[in-house]
Each structure stands twice: as C-alpha cells, then as structure tokens.
C-alpha cells in the first residue's frame, strides 16, 4: 500500500527501496590517504511494480495518469521500516506492457516506476559537520567524538561473564 498526492492505493504491488547516501563532488582522496566524504544526505528511492486486477482498470488508468503528469515532484507515502515515510519525489519514467489476448481482449498491465526523493530523509547541517568533523565510520574501532559505542544486533553478543576495570567478575 502506498499513496500518491494524497490518494492511497491499496492494490497488489511489490516495492523495492534503496537509500542513497549522496556526497558532493568535493569528496576525494586526501594527502594523508584518507577519503573525505562530503555527505549531503540520505535520499530514498522506491521502485514500485503494480499488479492491478483486471476488474480495477479505472484505478490502473488513474495511477498511470497521476504518475505521468509533468511535475517536478509528487508527494508519496511509502513503507518505511515498521511505519511509513512521506517524501516529495520525482518520477522520471513509468513503464507498462500492452497485452492482446487471442480472443481480442486487450489491456495494459504491470506499471513500474521509480520515484527518487527530492530532499534528503536524513541530513547533517554544516554546523553539525564542522563541529563533529567527518561522519564517523561504522567500525567501532574509530574514535568518535566521545568515548561511547553502541553495540547491538547480530554480530555482537554481550556475555554474562566479564570483569570490569576493578577485576570484579559478574
């Protein structure tokens, strides 16, 4: 389920999402052999393949016409983790397939489109970047601004057996 410009379409579809962490052209290799990544923000894009039942031809046409309007962006509501996300995104191509059956029946099927967000979903400001320096690497070995690391997920498991700086076992 997704929505375009305020209209929600509860129809069979597959939705593929991609997050692009975009950096500017001033990114590059530095003299100390590190890479300077001037990250501008994280831009979401969704590729949607629609399978509209034959008895919903009007809806099919409405979706097609909405997507092919020559505007700089549509307001989409798309699935995002356990919730949804609202993005203004551009659609550059919309494709589908014309089918003619043996009995002479004809119809269009399989609208596919990709919408790419015009604005970042996540972004740092210049102030944040200047204060914190470059974005920390995900590897915990790199010092970040403080001395704290978050360890979670599959790879790292906290053991119940450890000793701390005072050599006290737990």
């Amino acid at each position: 389920m997704f929505s375009i410009d305020g209209i929600t379409w509860d129809i069979p579809c597959s939705i593929e999402r991609e997050a692009e962490i975009s950096a500017s052209d001033i990114s590059g290799l530095m003299l100390d052999r590190s890479y300077f990544n001037d990250v501008l923000g994280t831009y979401m894009s969704y590729t949607v393949r629609i399978a509209v039942p034959l008895d919903m031809r009007d809806e099919y046409t409405q979706i097609y016409e909405a997507l092919t309007n020559p505007v700089d962006g549509h307001l989409f509501v798309m699935p995002y983790n356990d919730s949804t996300i609202e993005i203004t995104a551009r659609v550059s191509t919309v494709s589908d397939v014309y089918v003619r059956l043996a009995g002479g029946q004809v119809y269009w099927k399989g609208i596919e489109f990709t919408c790419v967000a015009n604005y970042p979903t996540k972004a740092m400001t210049l102030g944040e970047m200047v204060v914190t320096g470059r974005a920390p690497f995900p590897d915990v070995s790199e010092p970040s601004q403080g001395d704290s690391y978050t360890w979670d997920g599959d790879e790292w498991v906290v053991s119940v057996v450890y000793d701390d700086a005072d050599n006290i076992y737990y």
Partner: protein, 443 residues
C-alpha cells in the same frame, strides 16, 4: 550557501533571501605584491522566477551565516524560466569606472589621500563606499604625483607605496592591510591529493625608479607632468637596482622594472624594492586543494604539506571555491618557503607488543597534541578493542625522527561471537535491547 539581495536607492532595502542555489562560482584573489587590485566577483544561479534589477548589491553567506562577500550586482538575467543568473562585483569594479584628476601631493597623510579617493569615487559613481586602513599603516605619508587615472589605479598606487594590499572578500568594505606573517597550518588530512609545485624563471634583479618633482616651467628637454589646474612639475628620475644573490650566474637576465610609479622617491624606494624581493626573488609557487570553509583566504599566510615529508609556507593569492555541504578551495601560494620538518613516530603498544603505529611529518618547533586513537585489531582469532592509557600525547617538534611509545589496555575481546568486556567504564542496557558501553581513557 545563500544570497541576500538588496536594492539601493540612497538606502539599502532587502528584497529577498535566496536559498535555492543551483550554481555558484566564487574565486577571490589578492595581489600581495601590489601590482594590481583584482575585481573580485561571484556568480550565482538561483532557482526563482523573481526579477532582480542591477544596481543593488548582493551578499553571499554560508550556512553558518558568515558573510563571504558583499558585491554590487552587475548582471541579473534569467537563463531559463526558473533560473536567475546573478553576477556581482566588488567595489573595485566601480572604482575602475571612476576617473580622478591629476594632482601633486607632498607629505600628505595616507588617510587624507584615501579619503579623497573614496569620496570622489562615491560622488562619481553615486554608490556609497567605505574603506578601512589597518592601524599599522595610518602613519604613512605620500609624496609624489598622481596622473589622471582611474580610482582603482590610484588605490593600487597608494597601497603599493605604503606596503599594503587591498582585500575585498569576506567583508563589507575595502580593506587595506599590511602583509601579515602569522602562519596558519592546514592539516594534512584537510589537504587533497596532491599539491603541485611550479618553479618560475629566475628574476635576476629588481629595478626601481625614484622621482622628484619641482614646480616650474620645463625646457624642451625636461620631462614634466601637469596637474589638473595646469601646474607643471619638472621630473627628475634616479634608479636603484637590487640584484638577486640567489640566482645562478648562468640564469638569463630577467629584470623586473618598477617604472612610472610617481609616488616612489628617495625616501621610500629602498623599502619598496626590498619588500618586493620577497615576491620576485622567490620563484616557487604552489597550487593545492584543501577543505576550506572560509578559514583560509587570499592574503593569509599558510603552511601546507606538499607530500608525506615536505612542508612549505606561503601566501594565498587566490582561492577558487567549490561547494558541497562543506567547501573546497583550489588555492595558489606565492612567496613560498620550505619549512624544516621532523618526523614523529608514535608506537602503540600493549604489554610490550606493538599494536599500531603512526608517523607524522611536522614543522620543527610546532607544539603538537595528538589524540591517541582506539585500536581495533584482530590477533589469534580474537578481535580486540584497545583503549589508550593516556588521552593524548603532547610535545614540541624537533628535527630528525622522534619516537614515542603510548601504552594500551584491552577494553573488549570478541572471540567466537562472545564479547568479553575486559575493561570499560560503564555498561547500560536500554529497553530496546541496545547496550551502551562507555570506554574512557584509563587514568
């Protein structure tokens, strides 16, 4: 980056702040040798359907609200329906269109001469202009003859004579500043791969012409000048030459001739020429790119790494900016000198075993403070996170190689997917199962 646009009709009026910038070029420069005053400008493409009249001015700001330039709008046209291209120039562009009459001055204070230049330029252009003169230059006096010339040329003559240069970037006024030898070091990690060095032909000598003026009626063989009210001054000329002792004997003769600058006289010619040797007798120039959010600007003296070992200092004469979230500048250095450097080798050890190493090339005499990093290292199938026993290392750089050792302890040990917490400051588990481990420096 964003732009504020003002109209000016006796008083400034803000007509718009534009944040949707699709293109921006800004490349301020400064001629520290004083041979010219560049007309700095910026060009910006704005996503707008607004129409903007030329004659007002525009201010360029970064996202931290720092002013980068305040220039007069000389061009504003739509290049497509929704994109306005705007070009704005510094006050020098206006001074270049104002012509000033010939005049002889004697022992005139530099401030009075500058006041006159800016006042007549303001009257001539109907545009308000201000200048500031660094306090170290205010006691200078001017003796000599100004020919009929543009206000831009006159300002250049004055600045050149008193040993200043003109800065029209990152400010709202014309600044006349002395050469400042304070050096700012650009970190190697902020310098892009890789600076280039240019060696120009040797300048073998600088020749300067000094003048005296005597009011009178010239003979047919006299050289003379005439001021705007018809007074004639007979000109007497002498020359002084300074040889470049560093130029090899085989270098072809290449003399820089400072000729026709009627403010040079017996009192100031030696100091002017000796000042110029710093620029003309130094044939090394450096071009390099660095992350530059406005910290290094034309006129500044900076120290830059040329490679892993070599360091040089020099004056920025131009900076061509490119913008992302941060800004990068392609900078040109003149007056380049080698900086003696030494090597600092830091060995990171745990129980006597080396777990890491860093080597820095730093200027001799530089006081460094280098933070000890956390080290992630896999040894014998154990993935260790080591924590430093000291937060940082400090010292003063000497020549040669200095080796220091920093000791570490194991903070975390991951072995066969089990994390052993060996030495940490605190552990906090939140309701969402996230575990926060705080690792400080062991005191």
């Amino acid at each position: 980056m964003y732009i504020k646009v003002y109209t000016y009709d006796g008083l400034p009026e803000l007509i718009g702040t534009y944040t949707e910038i699709t293109g921006l070029s800004y490349a301020p420069s400064a001629d520290l040798a004083g041979a010219s005053i560049p007309i700095n400008e910026f060009q910006v493409d704005i996503h707008t359907t607004d129409t903007i009249e030329i004659g007002g001015y525009a201010e360029l700001y970064d996202d931290l609200d720092n002013l980068w330039a305040q220039y007069w709008i000389v061009y504003a046209e739509h290049i497509d329906q929704q994109t306005l291209r705007l070009r704005a120039q510094s006050d020098i562009g206006i001074l270049d269109k104002v012509e000033l009459l010939a005049v002889y001055v004697e022992n005139a204070s530099v401030t009075s001469v500058l006041d006159d230049t800016i006042l007549w330029s303001t009257i001539g252009s109907v545009v308000p202009m201000t200048y500031s003169l660094d306090s170290s230059l205010t006691s200078a006096t001017i003796t000599g003859f100004f020919p009929h010339q543009t206000a831009r040329e006159r300002l250049m003559w004055i600045a050149f004579t008193i040993g200043g240069y003109v800065k029209t970037h990152f400010n709202q006024t014309i600044e006349i500043l002395p050469i400042d030898n304070t050096v700012t070091a650009i970190p190697i990690g902020d310098t892009y791969w890789k600076p280039s060095i240019t060696y120009n032909s040797w300048v073998t000598a600088i020749r300067g012409h000094a003048y005296t003026f005597a009011i009178g009626t010239p003979s047919t063989t006299d050289t003379y000048v005439e001021d705007w009210i018809g007074n004639t001054y007979i000109v007497t000329e002498t020359t002084i030459t300074i040889q470049n002792q560093n130029a090899p004997e085989a270098a072809p003769e290449n003399v820089v001739d400072i000729d026709g600058l009627y403010l040079l006289n017996g009192n100031n010619i030696s100091s002017v020429l000796s000042r110029l040797t710093a620029w003309y007798f130094n044939r090394t120039e450096v071009d390099f790119d660095a992350i530059n959010n406005g910290a290094y600007i034309p006129g500044d003296k900076v120290q830059v790494h040329l490679d892993d070992e070599k360091i040089a200092s020099g004056f920025i004469t131009s900076a061509t900016f490119a913008f992302g979230l941060q800004a990068k500048a392609k900078m040109h250095l003149t007056g380049v000198e080698d900086v003696e450097s030494g090597k600092l080798k830091i060995l990171y050890k745990y129980n006597g075993v080396q777990i890491g190493k860093k080597v820095y090339s730093l200027p001799v005499g530089y006081t460094y403070t280098i933070t000890n990093p956390y080290i992630d290292k896999t040894m014998n199938k154990h993935r260790y996170i080591f924590r430093p026993l000291a937060e940082s290392i400090t010292g003063t750089m000497t020549s040669g190689t200095t080796t220091v050792t920093q000791n570490y302890a194991v903070a975390l040990d991951l072995y066969k997917s089990v994390l052993h917490i060996i030495s940490v400051d605190s552990i906090t588990e939140s309701q969402d199962q996230t575990t926060l481990i705080t690792i400080g420096v062991i005191a």
